[in-house]
Symmetry: C2
Subunit: 371 residues, 2 copies
């Protein structure tokens, strides 16, 4: 086994749940888990500056291989000195493999054992991603954590398809590791297996035999009922090694995060907070608040009482609503700040609850008030 | 004469030009002139936070009566505690009268002695602005400086029309002053007169007989040749009182600012820097730089070498170009920051040149390099 650039340190396990407190050591600093990672798809967390992310306690952020491969191109990012320098973010970074995005292209892509041929959503040009290409692109981008190139199984999928796909994800994972050379970057494998516990077991077994620094859990939150997601997640995490980080990919609402932490997950990412922000929706401890609504026209309170984010400390619902009605960009910024701060702060509340031996009570109280 | 809430203090006159160094004392602080005022049309300087404006040395900002009257409505802003509190800007503020905007509506408005009937650009509803309404709206908004409701004469305009219009602007100015009651707000009159020196003289004479705290110079930069603008400006400023601020409305390119300072102007505003920023154009000491252009794709230098704005300290042309190509809002922010910083810093360079007795040399050197 090689010495990994990124390592997970387990600090504490909650004795009454699966929740765990840990630290992720990376070349760009040590970060605390459970953690939410803001998404910077195109080398920018939409509307925000790096300093705004630092201010709200952002640790690791995620960027997308698929998007950067197509624009501006990974060679340009390499010339810029890597993604950290290009976008001037000084803390941890993770790049996904591009797998999820190309599979989402539907009719515009074709999967073979070799890799995936697809058409660019930007100009329709023919493109190719494979375990080797994805790994090389991610090395050029130079994030602390690269993800193995996997196939995301849609929901629903029959058992045979899910099995063949999961086995291919394992073969692809091996090819990723064989290609990977950067010593200041670690690679995470991605557990697949669809909604079949035995395939999840097979995927965990096959991938943990390989030398990954941590593990993503893919193929969840793809349209299945929440109860099914939690069920599969529970089957998956209990098989996973305790000494490596577990990253539930693409999950980013507060209720799902607290439930997944309860089942032993350490890392999360999602575009949800910034996407709904751009639609005028704020995330709060009691659910969503649609600040565009007329009911807030003369409401001079902050988005959420008690929130200490920049938006809530300085601006009213009435002002933010005005900015949305007037189509002013500053409104998008303020809600993006609030929503990301909300999830980053929520992860911090979870960490404190685990540290203080009251995570089960925290979870229960939160879910009681959340709509 | 009443004691004005806003006063101009003349610090120094350049002995070899019309340039003057001064201070504007307002209820929200004392600010240095010559000064450029960023425009926050809809109670937000497009894309930017107040702290970003403070960081770049912003002093007085401008907001638009026409826009805020229609949306969110001045009564809502009054309930919020005024515009300063609503948008959380703690330094100086000026509101225009709405005159320029309603006249710009063309066929959608009708001017009478009483005021202007117009249709809202938002919902087509019938609206009315007059000297009295504009003054009352501006009192509700509560900026430090309110502007008198005037008629902006288009270019070209025949002498008779320009004369009748200029006389009406004087009558309207009187009605504004008669309506105005707020003691923590001062009103500036607006000199009109079109491109006719004798009408400019008449306007200055009539308005300076009234009790205004300062004077706008309106109806310039409306399509006339630059040489004509400077000529009329020169005729106008030489007639204006030395103990009050002179504000050339709607002018905001570096070459026009340095020329107008040379002719004795103290204050400027323009949407130009933020508008061209949103098109991917940066302002520099040597002219415009279209950062969207392919030539900057792999240019890892800052927008302008030597510039100490946030964008130039932290990001490359290549990155900003990528943000524009990818339609990312952070690109609009970075160029808006750069362009406003450029003009605010340019005004500071002008003030230092006047203080150091080298304004004529500064002006000459600047114009030599500017394209």
């Amino acid at each position: 086994m090689t010495k990994h650039a990124v390592t997970y340190e387990l600090i504490k396990e909650c004795p009454r749940s699966g929740a765990r407190l840990g630290r992720l050591h990376t070349p760009h600093g040590t970060f605390e888990t459970p953690m939410f990672m803001p998404v910077g798809t195109q080398a920018t967390v939409k509307t925000l500056a790096p300093e705004e992310l630092y201010d709200m306690g952002s640790q690791v952020i995620l960027s997308n291989t698929y998007h950067l491969f197509l624009r501006p191109g990974h060679e340009l990012v390499r010339k810029a000195g890597g993604l950290h320098k290009f976008m001037n973010y000084k803390r941890g970074m993770l790049t996904d493999s591009g797998g999820f995005q190309v599979f989402s292209l539907g009719a515009m892509r074709k999967i073979t054992e070799e890799g995936v041929m697809f058409r660019s959503h930007i100009d329709g040009s023919k493109q190719f991603l494979s375990p080797e290409v994805s790994t090389q692109v991610q090395e050029a981008l130079g994030a602390d954590i690269a993800m193995a190139f996997d196939e995301c199984i849609p929901y629903p999928a029959d058992f045979d398809y899910a099995k063949r796909s999961t086995e291919r994800t394992t073969r692809w994972a091996k090819r990723c590791l064989e290609t990977h050379t950067r010593e200041d970057q670690s690679m995470f494998g991605i557990v697949q297996g669809g909604m079949y516990p035995e395939l999840r077991r097979m995927s965990v077994q096959q991938l943990t035999e390989l030398d990954f620094a941590g593990y993503g859990i893919g193929g969840l939150s793809v349209g299945e009922p929440k109860s099914m997601m939690y069920d599969i997640l529970s089957h998956t995490t209990e098989l996973m090694p305790k000494d490596k980080a577990r990253y539930l990919m693409g999950v980013g609402t507060a209720d799902c995060i607290v439930e997944a932490v309860n089942l032993g997950v350490d890392m999360f990412d999602c575009v949800f907070p910034t996407r709904v922000a751009r639609n005028g929706t704020a995330m709060t401890h009691t659910g969503r608040l649609v600040v565009r609504n007329a009911t807030y026209a003369e409401d001079f309170r902050p988005i959420e009482e008690g929130c200490d984010c920049y938006a809530c400390r300085n601006f009213s619902r009435a002002y933010i609503r005005h900015l949305f009605k007037a189509e002013e960009i500053f409104g998008l910024r303020l809600l993006s700040i609030h929503n990301l701060h909300f999830l980053l702060h929520f992860a911090k509340e979870i960490r404190e609850a685990i540290a203080n031996d009251c995570f089960p009570e925290f979870r229960e109280r939160f879910l009681e008030n959340y709509r």
